[in-house]
Symmetry: C2
Subunit: 333 residues, 2 copies
DNA sequence: CTGAAAGCGCTTACAG
DNA sequence: CTGAAAGCGCTTACAG
């Protein structure tokens, strides 16, 4: 094709430079070349280009299938926005849902081993051994909605679990509640742990140490979520680490003949379908997925194009959504 | 790398043939080459290969963002299984969520214009003009869960909407019901239309023509779903074209003080989250997504590798899931 | 600012 | 069954 562009009487070297926006071509010449290329319907052969540069203008997005339980639209929404941003930047994306088998056997997707993608986004938590294995590939990478101090050299874009939960708890305390419990197995994921620490911080700062109480929601070695509320001392508010847990808890309370929010109040986190389809609907925190996506893409592309190196941990805020499961009570008046 | 494989004293032509499973290499030699390649950790350069063959061993999966409303796990599940099957066959996948803007402005994804994917799967319905535009690209393609008689030359893998709904309706009639209504705007999508026709067929065959009644669920020019049940003559059973409609209808009935399944029965279709999270839960039909995925991948890969040409419309069956919203009544006894 | 030359790592006829 | 030669369409130094 370049040959034909030589219809302009220049060398293909010049054409290549003009089309790739490289310096070393006169402005008028460049414009002439570009318009001629369009006129001729020129389409660059990306393989030939990639053969020389090793860049496909493509980023891989990896996520464990564990995060695609039903109701988990969270990551899909993020992916959608990533796709939009990637397209804007002239990039293509490969979305790989990691099976449990691949994760256990440390099988790295073809898109990475074959160098088809120029960079990779690790969406959500995955097994440490798996991350180690991927980390051996010298390709730009970024955690999204996950971080691990063992892999501190990998930057990450994160929901502000800690501070958001702190604010959330603080708000509820301000509204007059004291006996507030946290629901979540804190060692299950880093997110749950961070949310719990945010809760604790607020409780301690408000001198409510004596009310601090944490319920488990993920029995060991079980994949399902479950909350045991066979407890005489019901709190005023259950702060659940996520909407799904809140949803399950709601069912458990109903079975015991308790009414939400009359007898006890509940809040969730994530603003997923569970918080909207339950009855009553659940007050929760919404995460700005679009911003997480935009930030992640911006950074990974910069890394790929060598424009910048280190970002560390980039935090994205959340917004409270009020629903039926938590309603201000008389204490606030 | 091939050069180094010449450590075996053969030409790189032979190595290329051996590694690609082409004929023209002795069996012993092939094995020797393959094991040497593994030993040396050889990784084929896919770009160089693609430059000659124009094949990246990659398939693109396209879907309109309209199908990623919340609760729509349907297509994501299919994608997940597609990814697994593709990996098994040594293929990579690019998942492109088509924005409304791209669909309206007939913008074709880079993965197709640049020839990065060897074939493309069109998941779910999209605008006819958009399909026409894509159809101009001479690349193997297949509809999944959609068909259009205007594009009869494009094969498709489909849920058996017509026959499944026919069977479903027949079952219900057998259980003693006569006054059965269909809920769904039949001109909205081909799937709804086919489901309706299946319902009608069963009604007519059982001489229940006089009971045939169809309610709208998608007001014109509205994106939300809504069911108007301000109707004196309630049927015994509402057969909704999908779970979401059933879910909405359930709410509408509750507001009128009606109880399901006591006062009236409801069934949905698709077995999505809506049918499980509602209260009562909704009897529905489950589609074998894994089979849809497996079939689609098998066919698109065959098309890419020129092993076969024409499949026409390939139908995948559904399975009834009984839940609370439809319970056998005394008539069956 | 522009061009001639070499080469990226494969595969495809063609010849033996 | 095996190999020598040419070429896929770009980009990267190097030279002017």
């Amino acid at each position: 094709m370049e040959d034909i562009a030589l219809a302009l009487g220049v060398s293909k070297v010049t054409v290549s430079r003009a089309l790739n926006g490289k310096e070393g071509v006169g402005e008028e010449l460049r414009e002439k070349i570009v318009s001629k290329a369009n006129e001729m319907g020129y389409q660059m052969n990306v393989f030939a280009s990639a053969l020389r540069t090793n860049k496909m203008h493509s980023v891989g997005i990896l996520i464990s299938e564990r995060y695609f339980g039903e109701g988990d639209f969270f990551y899909l929404e993020i992916y959608k926005h990533m796709g939009i941003d990637l397209t804007k930047k002239g990039y293509t994306s490969s979305f790989h849902i990691l099976t449990q088998e691949e994760e256990n056997d440390l099988i790295i997707p073809k898109m990475i081993t074959d160098g088809i993608v120029d960079g990779v986004l690790l969406l959500g938590e995955m097994h440490k051994d798996y991350i180690s294995t991927i980390d051996k590939f010298e390709i730009p990478k970024l955690f999204v909605d996950y971080y691990n101090s063992q892999f501190r050299h990998i930057d990450s874009v994160l929901t502000d679990n800690y501070f958001s939960f702190y604010n959330f708890t603080n708000d509820i305390i301000k509204e007059g509640y004291k006996n507030i419990s946290f629901v979540g197995t804190i060692k299950a994921t880093a997110s749950i742990m961070d949310r719990y620490m945010g809760y604790q911080k607020a409780m301690i700062e408000n001198n409510l140490e004596s009310y601090i109480k944490q319920y488990e929601d993920r029995p060991e070695d079980e994949s399902f979520i479950f909350v045991d509320v066979d407890d005489q001392a019901l709190p005023e508010v259950f702060m659940c680490n996520c909407d799904y847990t809140a949803y399950i808890l709601l069912d458990a309370l109903k079975e015991k003949g308790l009414f939400v929010p009359k007898d006890v109040k509940i809040v969730g986190f994530d603003d997923t379908l569970y918080s909207r389809l339950s009855s009553p609907t659940i007050t929760t925190k919404h995460v700005d997925l679009e911003q997480i996506a935009r930030t992640s893409i911006k950074f990974i592309v910069k890394k790929i194009e060598n424009k910048s190196k280190k970002y560390g941990r980039v935090i994205v805020d959340t917004k409270r959504i009020d629903r039926e499961s938590f309603v201000f009570n008389s204490k606030t008046k």
